[in-house]
């Protein structure tokens, strides 16, 4: 078992001093590893990173996102992906290589207001992120209830290897699509959806608290069982 040390940090805090490798939201200053965000600093072997507790969604390639089509241009669709950047889905990615704006009508596939489950195909900050809907389960989301949470809390909602989200889906018999951008679509029976939404909101509110899995199980009225290898969750950092 690898030793993991966690520490509550705010911007400017020195996490650790010595020969370490700065990871996400960490900057090296001389020999100091400095945090750039509010969050939990994690030291695993030689790597230091900060798991931020707040912040807007900044797209990353290979992320799954839920977006809403806000504009149809001649060559593709623009989607609101809950970020400061607009996602762009080019026509070629939907109609194939022989796509031509004159022969294909983009609105036959998606129109303004449609919800999409998409993957960030490419993003380098100089241009808007490019979306793709090639892949299993990707494409238009026909129905469901939308819940928004802080994007930084999405990993908590998903849990170790999807444990948390699968548990909620199973206990409420809902289909839940989670975007890394903090937009979640829940589909199922009205009672199931209501329960799932409540569970998601609980995670949003208490993301930094211990025993989240138990609390969700209680809320959903399930037998309380220990999750597998949850030891590495932020619960063990000893807050409160």
């Amino acid at each position: 078992m690898v030793e993991i040390t966690r520490k509550q940090v705010i911007p400017g805090d020195v996490i650790v001093t010595g020969d370490y490798r700065p990871g996400m939201f960490v900057q090296r200053r001389g020999n100091d590893m400095v945090a750039l965000r509010i969050g939990l600093a994690e030291i695993i072997r030689n790597d230091v990173k900060v798991i931020p507790l707040s912040g807007a969604y900044i797209p990353r390639t290979e992320d799954m996102v839920v977006g809403k089509v806000v504009n149809v241009t001649g060559y593709g669709w623009e989607a609101d992906i809950n970020s400061c950047f607009v996602g762009y889905l080019p026509g070629q990615f939907v109609f194939g290589r022989d796509f031509s704006p004159s022969t294909h009508d983009l609105t036959t596939r998606f129109t303004v207001g449609d919800l999409l489950l998409a993957k960030i195909e490419a993003f380098d900050r100089t241009r808007d992120p490019q979306l793709s809907i090639r892949g299993p389960g990707l494409g238009k989301i026909p129905q469901g209830e939308i819940v928004k949470i802080t994007p930084m809390k999405v990993p908590r909602l998903i849990g170790r290897k999807g444990y948390m989200i699968n548990m909620i889906a199973e206990l409420t018999s809902c289909e839940i699509k989670v975007g890394q951008n903090g937009v979640i679509v829940v589909d199922g029976t009205p009672e199931g959806v209501q329960k799932a939404v409540r569970a998601i909101q609980l995670i949003e509110q208490e993301a930094h608290m211990a025993d989240l899995t138990t609390k969700v199980q209680q809320l959903l009225g399930a037998p309380i069982g220990a999750p597998p290898t949850e030891a590495a969750g932020p619960e063990n950092s000893g807050e409160q």
């Binding site: 705010i10 911007p11 400095v34 750039l36 509010i38 807007a56 900050r125 928004k148």
Partner: protein, 255 residues
């Protein structure tokens, strides 16, 4: 001035509000007070009551002003019409425009604006009740709000003012001392980096007085930083906290 001035410090070295030369006014900060903002903070410093709210990073409007390699930082310092004794015209005054600029320049060095190209980050500083040193209070609150908004920062920014009253260097001027005293020196810095981001001076200081003032500002600033830190940690790590603990869960309006 020819007229007889009121004494701002008595023979025991006690100031108009009962403080000694090196004491701060009562200071309280709270993070996450504006629900609609991405980050926010309330600061109560003496009689100052100031809310700072941060929006963004978001799309830049108007589009032609966006910067290809970094975020555009917009700051607005505004005093509410009821923040002073005599009603203040709500239109931005010369003074407010200047303070907006110095706040922007005091915050900018702490931010990684290049991490958010083509976007805008807006900082609104609303003075609800004003006292001396509102610009440094505004900077202190803005730094909290920016950290709350989750924008990458090198360090927090702390503001603190020093001044000269009755020929003595004193920490953290109140409104009377600011108006009737003989000098004012607002100061903002990044405490961990030990770098100055704002240094203004009003009135006359000798070189020795200036050096003394600067040292005092640093000492006072570190006290402010301690409270600033506590406010931020309380918001994020105290397990729930008071009424502001519920955060941004909400349904999309069209859902």
């Amino acid at each position: 001035m020819t007229e007889e001035k009121r004494k701002l410090m008595d023979e025991n070295g006690i100031r108009t509000d009962g403080r000694r030369w090196d004491e701060l006014r009562p200071l309280k900060m709270e993070v996450g007070v504006v629900r609609n903002a991405d980050g926010s903070a309330l600061i109560e410093w003496g009689k100052n009551k100031i809310i700072a709210a941060v929006y963004g990073p978001k799309e830049m409007h108007p589009k032609h002003l966006e910067l290809a390699d970094r975020a555009f930082l917009k700051c607005r310092y505004h005093m509410a019409p009821f923040s002073v004794d005599e009603r203040k015209n709500p239109a931005p005054s010369r003074r407010e425009i200047e303070i907006s600029k110095v706040i922007r320049e005091a915050l900018q060095p702490a931010l990684f604006l290049e991490d958010y190209p083509r976007t805008a980050i807006q900082v609104y500083v609303e003075v609800l009740q004003s006292d001396g040193g509102s610009r440094v209070a505004g900077i202190t609150a803005s730094a909290l709000a920016l950290a709350d908004a989750g924008i990458n920062m090198r360090d927090l920014v702390v503001g603190c003012a020093v001044g000269k009253v009755d020929g003595k260097i004193v920490l953290d001027l109140n409104d009377t001392e600011d108006k009737e005293g003989s000098g004012d020196l607002p100061y903002a810095f990044m405490p961990n980096l030990n770098q100055v981001t704002l240094l203004q001076m009003d009135g006359l200081f000798t070189l020795d007085e200036f050096k003394q003032a600067l040292d005092l500002a640093k000492v006072g600033g570190m006290k402010v930083y301690k409270l600033q830190r506590e406010a931020l940690l309380k918001r994020y790590f105290s397990g729930g906290g008071p009424e502001t603990s519920t955060s941004t869960t909400e349904m999309m309006e069209e859902a």
